[in-house]
Amino acid sequence: MLVSAVVDSENPIQQTSKQQDPAAAEPLDALEQLRVLLLGAEYQTLSDLRQQLLDRERYSLHVAEVISEALALRAQQDSSLSETLSPTIEAAVSRSVENNPSRLANALYPVMGPAIRRSIQEVLQQALETFNYLLEQSLSLRSLFWRFDAWRTGRSYSEVVLLKTLVYQVEQVFLIHRESGLLLQHVLSPQAISKDPELVSAMLTAIQDFIRDSFQVSNDNNLKTLQLDELTVCFNQGPYATVAAVVRGRSPAELSTLLTEVNEQIHRQSFYFLKTFQGDTAAFKSCLPLLERCLKTQLRSTKKFPWLAILALITFTGAGLWWTYQYYQQKLIATEVLAALRAEPGLVVLGFEKTPDGYRYEILQDPQAREPAAVIQSIQSMGVALKLNTKPYLSLEPDFVLARAKQVLQPSEAVHLKLEGKILKVEGQASPHWAQNLMQLGRLIAGIDSIDQSKLQLVDTAAEQTAKNLQTLVTQIEALSFNFSSGSSLLENAQAHAQQLAVLSLDLLKTARLAGKMPQISISGAADETGSEATNGRLAKERALAMRDYLLEQGVPAALIAVPKPDAGRRDERSIHYQVDLF
């Protein structure tokens, strides 16, 4: 020791003298020799070691050999290594990210993905559970009872819910300095209330001492739990600090393990501060996250499958899908209706729009067209309200022009109408009267400019018909006769006869006028052979006159009737006959 000190102090002097004066090498060697003599091989080792320390490369080699062991040893002793290294490591990491971000990203990739997925899963799970819980609470009959209970006991509703649904809740956690009972840190769950935790902490310690002393247990035996009806205080005693958790509800077995772990970690982390604690609690702020880990709550319903929430979700999704389906279905129907209406001749769709429960169509309808409602009848409306507002219009489509013409002109079957451009071609046979109508009305029909009736044959069918009718009437009247009783000109039961004649004669008058003629009905009476010639002649005359009077009475116009001289043509009858003449 002494020698090396001497060496150290001498050396600089020697070196300076060596540089100044080469002749002085003599005494130096002598000194060297003396050293070698005195220390022998040891001197060699020493100077070798010294050389190693001074030579950067060799020194590094030596340190390299032990550096990991040294680090491991130090890490076992205390946490100073991580404290010292963490700024360096942090700087190194941020430097690495700055230089080449993808390298760190690649390295982290295998852990990041799962971690992110898991945290998302957890968040979703939690959200679902909370949602379910709220739903359950707000829906169930149970919640009504709880409200009643809250009202009855004067507690807040949330407190009652918590009590009833709680398996357990760690309300507060104390970190207590074991020796003095002073409170090092304290955490409290959001719902819980705490009286002066510093006092509680001290008192908890005093109570432990009290129990230990009162029941004479050995000093190593520590109080594990204090239990009240629904409240438990769990203790974990470490060498320097006690962790005490106040649990409401059934305290779970795993809590004591958790408290042990937490307390051990606190001892590891804050060992120095615990050992030298003098009443300053600021150093224990770092224990808060650990203590907060113990603030656990378990609700009764958490394990349940969230039926209600799932059901609600399904309902919402179902409703959404149904709505979408309806929407597209409606649209489909609307377009189908539109297509049908557009395809229908004589209908013009001006526009359509959405109404709250369906669609409204504005339509122009030709009087000849089908009703729009009938057009869309075949389309299933599926509850979509389809409102069709129509306004009349005239279509100039050839079909409609033709149809209109037919409606206006009412042609007989013998007439054929055809449309060529705007010319109405009329073919076939028609009465002059109809032809006259055609010329008058035809040009007023929308869509028709002129009429071509060059191929129309005029046939006066009406006059023919009248003549025929007239002939029938004449035959009918002339077939009538009325019989008197023998020698009498009295009309007995003549009413039916007279009326029949009255009807026929009026008809005759009308029909004859149509044909431009004037009819006359001659009444001729007759007598049988029984009387004298003169009597018979008179009787026939009387009979004819009686009938004439009676007919006039029945309303037959006087101008129609004439009574000619009795003719002797019919001798064997007591009757009246008629003869019709047309002038």
Partner: protein, 169 residues
């Protein structure tokens, strides 16, 4: 925020409980004393620029000072020994207690309180005894829990010793 555990010690009925009651905000009722044997109160106090929480332990006990549980004395930062000026015995108990704590805990902060100073005409403690006390090197404060005299000073006298000197303004 500094926290310190302190303790009031002394013979039976010297006025420990009465002194604490004068001083602190209470959380626990007095019945703790008889049931658990200990009652703890908190007194926030400011010394210079340091705020301090005194956790004041009141220990119930017979006149026999050996009855005091060591457990209660652990972690103590300071104590107040209360003497009843009207009772000779309380002086002896006080000295013995002081002696015991010194051996058990080593040197800690302490204050001697001469209580019941409102009854000074009945005091049996003489000047000689007080001088002996003074030689121990701790503050001696005359107090009366009844008239609320010297109580604040008594606690303050202890608190001052508990705060590191450099932080005392």
């Amino acid at each position: 925020m500094l926290q310190k555990k302190i303790c009031l010690l002394g013979a039976f009925s010297v006025g420990k409980t009465s002194l604490i009651q004068r001083y602190v905000n209470k959380l626990f009722s007095e019945k703790y004393l008889t049931t658990v044997g200990v009652k703890i109160d908190k007194k926030p106090i400011i010394v210079g620029s340091t705020s301090l929480n005194l956790m004041v332990w009141d220990i119930a006990g017979e006149d026999d000072f050996t009855n005091i549980r060591s457990a209660h004395l652990r972690g103590l930062s300071g104590y107040i020994v209360v003497i009843d000026g009207t009772r000779q015995n309380s002086f002896n108990v006080a000295l013995a207690l002081h002696e015991r704590i010194k051996t058990e805990l080593g040197e800690v902060a302490a204050v001697f309180a001469l209580n019941k100073c409102d009854l000074k005409e009945h005091w049996v403690i003489n000047h000689e005894q007080i001088r002996t006390l003074a030689q121990l090197g701790y503050p001696i404060i005359e107090t009366s829990a009844k008239l609320d005299q010297g109580v604040e000073e008594m606690f303050m006298g202890l608190a001052r010793q508990l705060v590191p000197e450099n932080s005392e303004a």
